[in-house]
Symmetry: C2
Subunit: 348 residues, 2 copies
DNA sequence: CTGTTAGCGCCTTCAG
DNA sequence: CTGAAGGCGCTAACAG
């Protein structure tokens, strides 16, 4: 093979070492300490000198190493870890947006990772975040295994659960008022005369799924009846599985006259199935759909639709504010807080 | 006020100092170096000792401080900076998802921030990221001011532009094949006999907007005609402004028979306007719409629709791979690369 | 196989 | 107002 001598003296890819305070000090002919002072606001530095140093910093393009800085005792890392099940989901993207907005305004930055609904990965990423000295964590938890959060608790890193809870973890949490939303929407369908109401739900290990199902059943109970269990479908993962489930329900002789879809992915799948069945003539009157979570175009859906709407970025903002209050000590000693954000029923 | 003595000895919020290798070393009755070796895989450590140390680490819930670790020369921070104009936009959420997938697989994590289309904020965040020692940057740039990236270049931090370019910046870039996509969609409309075709575009300072407009005009030129400039509307920001613009176009006596919408937000606004006009009877035959970018439910839109579809997460993955190739030196010395990802025309 | 020394970039403490 | 010393957590390089 060719010699490596043209590429430099060592085998590792040539990468200029980052500038340090020393480099600036040398170039500005001052001590590193003076540079440090300038970086921290220039207090106690002769104005002329300060400007000179600032000029050198700008000329050389120096940036203070925040990692080294945060090494000193008492210094914060300025990092918040955000663990989401799937950023590709527009709903969680909104949550992240809200978190970033509030956290970013404090000058802190967010580390974002996706668990992909994988519990082992969640544990691993939490550990990674702790190693990176995050000051706090906002997590959309994968399942119900509270053990995964033990490390964070032991390290005194504040934790806020977002959108879902974990029964065994006593931490601040921000949820949507799932139970009420599902209850209200279901009640409206019952009052409209529907009795055969299907429930299309996701995995029961997800707390939102449980809570929405509870609201659904609660509405029936309060109405003095019970749902037809044959119409309760759980474990749906995405639009495709939801569409299949809906199609199968529509194919039964005693098809539902109304449907409750437990989240936006499920709603979209259900609407596809209903619209297709209507289009190919196999279905005359489409069932009424009540859909948890909104989505682009909910207002133009081709079937009668009630949406249980709520604002994901607001959820993110609230979660971030709760976290910050733990980080700055202003909520010290307070018991775990649970916020349930309101939902809005919208009829299209 | 009550005395603070119950809360600890100092005024700052009580926060246990993080565990260090020394703590583990003391507890395991070994030297810090042995702990370090165990943390790095346990090479050259007596198996029994290694297990003992690992046990102590697990018992105490210790996590190696990655920031301190990366302080040593030659060590990487394991951080990649991602700057997005708006994570709330499902399209960019998909891009972030793709980036995270590829970057995360290398054990690195992403710092994510939103520029909100603000150039000053972009500069500030880039500087912040450099201070946090990111190994690389993936940026959806705000405008055309290449100066903002000078600091990154000077610090030898690899940069990949995603989704948009900046003319004055010679960096790797991943774009959608905007020109071709717009050209093809427009050509189809022309071939279908449409002549009065409106163009609903975003800000021209955004390179995608320029490129899509170029494809639109190019298709007319190749067809031997020119678009009606009265039907070219630029500067649309969101669904609301797009809906207004579309409504106004529909209100003109010589309304367009077809519409090109330059992105998904604009498409949704346009569809709303068209659907409303159809519903209230003020419009008999809706114009054909060609929409750049897809969105939930494009397949169920209430009007004739062609979508110029492409995969945001693929764009993210490609951008991340390009960045990694610069970071690990495998693309050392290569000229800036431009990848244009294919689009797919889909008719609904 | 294990331990000691030294220094990464920065800033608090203390001298001047 | 400015500078020198020391140490944050970690790990190469070098003893032993």
């Amino acid at each position: 093979m060719e010699s490596a001598e043209d590429q430099g003296l060592d085998a590792t890819p040539t990468r200029r070492a980052a500038l340090t305070v020393k480099d600036i000090a040398r170039a500005a002919e001052v001590s590193p300490m003076t540079v440090s002072r300038v970086l921290s606001g220039g207090k106690n530095v002769r104005p002329a000198l300060r400007e000179h140093v600032e000029q050198v910093i700008a000329d050389l393009g120096y940036h203070r190493n925040e990692n080294a800085r945060s090494l000193r005792p008492g210094q914060r890392s300025g990092l918040v870890g955000v663990l989401i099940t799937n950023i590709g989901n527009p709903y969680y993207a909104g949550v992240v947006q809200g978190i970033e907005q509030v956290v970013g305004a404090t000058g802190r930055r967010i580390l974002v990772a996706t668990t992909n609904e994988d519990g082992d990965l969640e544990r691993q990423l939490l550990s990674d975040f702790l190693g990176r000295q995050v000051e706090g964590l906002i997590v959309v938890p994968v399942g119900q295994d509270g053990e995964r959060f033990a490390a964070a608790r032991r390290n005194d890193v504040p934790l806020v659960l977002a959108s879902r809870t974990v029964a065994s973890v006593a931490a601040d949490a921000v949820l949507i008022d799932d139970v009420r939303g599902a209850h209200e929407a279901t009640t409206l369908m019952l009052e409209a005369g529907h009795r055969r109401i299907a429930f299309l739900g996701n995995k029961v290990s997800v707390s939102t799924g449980q809570r929405r199902l509870r609201g659904f059943r609660g509405a029936f109970a309060d109405h003095g009846s019970v749902p037809d269990e044959d119409l309760v479908v759980l474990g749906l993962q995405d639009t495709a599985t939801a569409e299949t489930a809906m199609r199968e329900l529509l194919g039964t002789p005693d098809r539902p006259t109304a449907v409750f879809a437990a989240n936006n992915r499920i709603s979209i799948g259900a609407i596809r199935a209903i619209a297709k069945a209507t289009a190919d003539g196999s279905l005359e009157t489409p069932p009424h759909l009540s859909a948890f979570d909104s989505f682009d175009f909910a207002d133009m859906a081709p079937i009668p639709l009630s949406v249980i709407d709520h604002d994901p970025s607001e959820l993110g903002r609230v979660a971030a504010r709760m976290l910050l209050s733990r980080m700055d000590g202003s909520a010290d000693g307070a018991a775990p807080r649970l916020v349930e954000l309101p939902v809005h029923l919208v009829h299209h």
